[in-house]
Point group: C2
Chain length 210, copies 2
């Protein structure tokens, strides 16, 4: 199909598609004449993935480039590949961590040991958790960490359901894409569900008092 048809099918404007082509997020089409290229379903699917990561996942163009690189690196074993892809969709903190983060890292390492999780207490996800815990303490809500084990248990259930979906429904080639999409869109989904459940819980606790 031509670029106009690709635009019509995906709802992404032609200038935006050309921008993604220039940025290398979308592979070039097959040249059918010096000024015209032809695109297929793989382009359509890639374009929808870019939009989902951008609009719903809130990733930057640079972040999407990293995620796509992980999806395309077919040489690593599955387990390592999934880990690398997951690491790239975790926000990374470039600022020098404060004192609070040093304390929070210990809390995170203890949690990982307590849950018996076979995961490194030094990876980007553990660091992101330590940064969030330190930020809670900094704004005077350090006590919120009392919910940590409830959150961890909920995360275990959710992660198990995620992996069951991935193992049962996704072809090997699409495994990494499935994990990345599930990670980013799954976060968006869970965040929205948590808010819906908040409204219900809040009505029950505060509704009568007005």
């Amino acid at each position: 199909m031509r670029i106009g048809e690709l635009s019509r099918r995906t709802g992404v404007s032609v200038p935006t598609i050309k921008y993604y082509l220039r940025e290398g997020l979308l592979p070039a089409g097959e040249l059918t004449s010096p000024n015209q290229a032809s695109y297929d379903e793989t382009h359509e699917r890639r374009l929808r993935l870019i939009r989902a990561l951008l609009d719903v996942g809130g990733l930057s163009i640079a972040g999407i480039r990293e995620v796509l690189a992980a999806i395309e690196d077919r040489e690593r074993p599955v387990h390592k590949m999934l880990g690398a892809a997951a690491d790239r969709v975790v926000p990374r903190y470039t600022e020098e961590p404060g004192e609070g983060v040093v304390v929070a890292r210990k809390t995170v390492a203890e949690l990982i040991a307590r849950r018996g999780w076979s995961t490194s207490p030094e990876g980007p996800a553990a660091e992101a958790l330590a940064v969030a815990l330190a930020a809670l303490t900094e704004v005077g809500h350090g006590g919120f960490a009392q919910v940590l084990d409830t959150y961890a248990e909920a995360a275990e259930r959710v992660a198990k359901a995620d992996l069951e979906y991935v193992a049962g429904n996704v072809e090997r080639e699409e495994l990494v894409e499935g994990v990345v999409v599930g990670t980013v869109l799954g976060d968006a989904m869970f965040a929205a569900l948590r808010r819906l459940a908040h409204v219900d819980a809040s009505r029950k606790v505060f509704g009568a008092g007005g």
Copy 2:
């Protein structure tokens, strides 16, 4: 304290503090001379809140302004105030929703009815969930919605723990702040925990095969 001391205590640079003052995110200090203002603990706390929402929560300056406005609106009853604050930290989608979103809204309304949640199927959180579900379908992972009830159950547990923390530990005046901080930082916390649990679950499923 002077602006230099405020900067030293919070790790936020003086030019950045001045920027927040100009943008109205941080209330002006008390003038002690025509060119000098004095700041107190409320400024320090507000500054930490701004940095947490910005760095960990990933909110924009405009988003933070809305959240702070909700925190400061003391006239609304508690339950409505919490709802308004929560609504503002949900990403809102300004684009015209596609066909997929119309279908997904029905799925969301059915879920809300099935769980018996006393919450509107038309609020921003329900819309955010519909957008995430539609995006999953668009990128060819519509089947991922099979995890929806597992996610919803996990969200209920997490929301209950959140509200118990808020009801038990937070003063009435800080209630909204607690919910906003808990919502934004709680999302970051849960997302990090979900990734940690993924690594563990992934090792169990894919670890042996390599």
